[in-house]
Symmetry: C2
Subunit: 386 residues, 2 copies
């Protein structure tokens, strides 16, 4: 619901929050976990180039956001009132982002990655099956897989090039060595709110209340390892060496202005099964990839075949329990345009990632009559293999 918290004329006593170019105006107020040198982590909200210390402000004392997620309480309204231009300024509650360490925003118990970018799935599928790129299940099942939670890192953490089994010459045995086809994947993900009990599915009508907020996700992938290992149980070591997320969780409330119709299924596609109907609304977020300072891709979450609500409902449809802070990502977001490709595998013959390459994902919602809501940075630099 769009309300006065989305008023684009609203201003803050934190001046950098009033810069039209900031990712973090007072209409956003994403949540994260930070620490100052020598101090323990605590929760904060980003405004301009500053962090509002939620403990100092008396709004939340937790050391991760899981407690808020469990309650489904984003505090966005209260934080906005605290930072409003009409409220008493409290500069002593602010910490410059530049001087703080940013941590994972929550304990992520489980990480699931979907495969909802239909243009990605089609383009990648065509490499393997030119005549029949999408599997018969694709338009019925929101395809996903369990990812590795332990190796999720926050933006800025370096990413070590993985080694693994690679078999490029099918007449010879595989060899173990550094991946030569290291790739990124441009994704958006959400962190779960209150969660559901084991054995109790979530109906579509309640799905959105289980979505706490969104972040950017780079599901780094070693394509040569993946190609050799993935049958029959799916990707494993090709992806478990690192997944980078952005540190700020942009709440569902902050993204209200960017609701969009769910993906328009082409004529002839089956309707979603009843448990995934109606599909709910999509999100119109723009996602970008910057490689060593050059923007090489720009795609939109409007091109996801399934809504985030459908992903969540499907995930819980067998009774699987989601817990506060679980990360559920979209899969690679690609569009139809030549410059809307969410991974290097789709951009061949562009080379795969080299040691020292910096991959930066950015994301934002933009709509006439509303403040621009940004996600901050999701960045990683490739270190050479060990």
């Amino acid at each position: 619901m769009i309300d006065e918290t989305h008023d684009p004329a609203r201003r803050s006593w934190v001046e950098s929050g009033n810069d039209p170019a900031t990712d973090f105006p007072i209409q956003n107020l994403p949540l994260g976990v930070f620490s100052r040198p020598g101090e323990s982590p605590r929760a904060g909200a980003a405004i301009g180039d500053q962090i509002l210390d939620l403990r100092a402000a008396g709004l939340y004392g937790g050391v991760s956001l899981n407690g808020l997620m469990a309650m489904g309480a984003s505090l966005r309204r209260q934080i906005g009132e605290t930072l409003d231009a009409g409220a008493s300024p409290h500069p002593e509650w602010l910490v410059p982002i530049a001087g703080a360490a940013l941590h994972l925003p929550a304990h992520i118990g489980d990480y699931t990655d979907f495969y909802a970018g239909i243009h990605h799935a089609t383009r990648v599928g065509r490499l393997f099956r030119p005549d029949n790129p999408l599997m018969p299940n694709y338009k019925y099942v929101p395809i996903g897989y369990h990812g590795r939670a332990s190796s999720i890192v926050v933006s800025g953490a370096p990413v070590r090039r993985p080694s693994g089994q690679i078999r490029e010459d099918e007449s010879a045995p595989p060899v173990f060595g550094p991946s030569r086809r290291l790739d990124f994947e441009l994704e958006a993900g959400f962190l779960a709110g209150p969660g559901n009990r084991l054995g109790e599915p979530v109906p579509m009508a309640e799905a959105e209340s289980h979505i706490f907020g969104f972040c950017l996700v780079n599901d780094w992938s070693a394509r040569d390892i993946q190609k050799w290992e993935y049958q029959p149980l799916g990707p494993f070591l090709a992806k478990s060496f690192a997944t980078t997320i952005s540190p700020w969780v942009v709440t569902r409330e902050a993204l209200e202005p960017f609701r969009s119709p769910a993906f328009t299924r082409p004529e002839g596609d089956p309707p979603p099964l009843p448990y995934l109907s109606p599909p709910g609304e999509g999100l119109d977020l723009t996602l970008e990839v910057w490689l060593n300072g050059e923007r090489i891709s720009r795609a939109s979450t409007r091109d996801l075949y399934w809504t985030f609500a459908q992903m969540l409902v499907h995930h819980a449809s067998n009774g699987c329990n989601l817990r506060p802070g679980d990360l559920i990502a979209s899969g690679t977001v690609s569009g139809t345009a030549p410059d809307a490709r969410g991974c290097l595998l789709e951009m061949q013959p562009r080379p795969f990632l080299q040691d020292g390459d910096e991959v930066l994902l950015r994301g934002y919602g933009r709509r006439e009559g509303f403040a621009r809501i940004g996600f901050g940075e999701c960045k990683g630099v490739i270190l050479p293999a060990r």
Copy 2:
């Protein structure tokens, strides 16, 4: 290393621990987490039909075993000295197993399931590809996938029959409904000890020090959901509705007498790649499936194509970090004999699981000249679909 703690003549002042039929003699001393009615969980060691309260005995005050796992300290020797027939009896430190609630023994951050039972993989593969049952990667790559950690439950928890998308008639769309091909999987798994840092693989020579102890694992599977969803990213909702583990962690030390040579690769099979060589030793554990009180299967972990050490080293070979308490399971253990099949899919036309069925896994090591070391129960009853 076999030492005096394995002496079969050793006896305890806890009389039930001296019963030759017990799973938990003084040579075993598996660790778990229990609570008495109205009290909070704490760590204990099983002996006969009793639990030694490790806090009361002054040996460990943690509420889960993760702290011990991080130190790699099983306390087996100290617990044995406390319970030895020559030590002062302290019946006030004992709690009857029958009067306690047993909990998950550790916080399991990530759960990985391998596919190392070659007879299982061959028999199941033959159903899909009669001429070529094993994928070309099988004898090179310890195939595994990420499982779901949130839905791991301890023995005794009921298991709700999942619903999901099923497509039995390929000329019609899939339907959403209760699984009609619900199955168990007979597995052994280990819980990780100290773990490794992200980006730092574990060499074979150090692998065993990262294995804290073992438990039984039932990776419940809905075969009809699996068949329709699994391509191309592997099993997802077909398995994430529940995984049951036994509550007692049998330490690596207690299993020393049951070391066995690694699997003998048939002539013509490739040797393991250097990073998985030498393979280390196997384990000779017998695993059984009891369905509604009737034993329907008995298999051995000697039939695993990869050792647990190889699974661990492969898992970390790309730099993926393991954390204390992570669960790494073998995959379904089957043998070549007709009564050594670790799941119903291999026992067709035996019917799949019915509502009300009780599946009980048992496991033990037995060797002439040593005490029998058991795993206790890994049990679940099927509840009807919601």
